[in-house]
Symmetry: C2
Subunit: 130 residues, 2 copies
């Protein structure tokens, strides 16, 4: 599962996202408490995240696996601000993502990412409505 | 190393902290970018964290280990706000902590923890100066 994820990230291949998510996928954002529920909403959120996070210097720096959950630590620079965080990804026996949790530090980076993600989600929702 | 850490947390035993830290320990806070350097400063920060985080319902919910680094996911409620985060702990061959990184979500929890930690650090510094 995790090798698929790395491939998707390395290729910046958003089109693969849909097939990687379970119907009941849940996403826990670094910003809001209420989980984002269902394949459609999670997919839209991850699309916005792809557009926001996948700068040229985005990279995973550490990897931890326990059972069917992985923690991937990432690092990137955006608008001159260093962003550090983790993706915590859980998958089912069909190798589909069931849970996706993101945490970001430091505060300044979280603030900036929040602004960028809000703008990107609004843009994607507008496109979807057209 | 991690069993020592769990014991210290379970016993709320701050006195053990000093002996668990390497002289050159570095702490990466969820709030500020600049690392906190050296056993003395890291110890003071972790003392403040003990006082702030170790509510009755503080608990580690997931654990990941890769080599000499562990990721421990935690959960607690503070002032009615649910706090979720990770401790990423690295140790050396002498079983002493060399690096400690904390991430917290969601935004509201990070904000509240930041206020609490700032007040607690001020109090501890005042006590140390007396």
């Amino acid at each position: 599962m995790i090798s698929n994820w790395h491939e998707t990230i390395n290729q910046r291949d958003i089109s693969k996202l849909g097939s990687m998510l379970s119907e009941n996928a849940v996403l826990h954002s670094p910003v809001i408490h209420t989980p984002i529920q269902g394949k459609k909403m999670v997919s839209m959120y991850l699309q916005a995240a792809f557009h926001t996070f996948l700068t040229d210097d985005f990279r995973y720096v550490k990897e931890f696996i326990n059972g069917q959950t992985a923690v991937l630590e990432f690092q990137l620079t955006l608008n001159g601000i260093e962003v550090n965080g983790i993706d915590m990804i859980t998958w089912n026996d069909d190798q589909q993502i069931t849970e996706f949790k993101v945490m970001i530090r430091p505060f300044k980076a979280l603030n900036m990412i929040n602004d960028q993600m809000t703008a990107m989600l609004a843009k994607l929702q507008q496109q979807a409505a057209q």
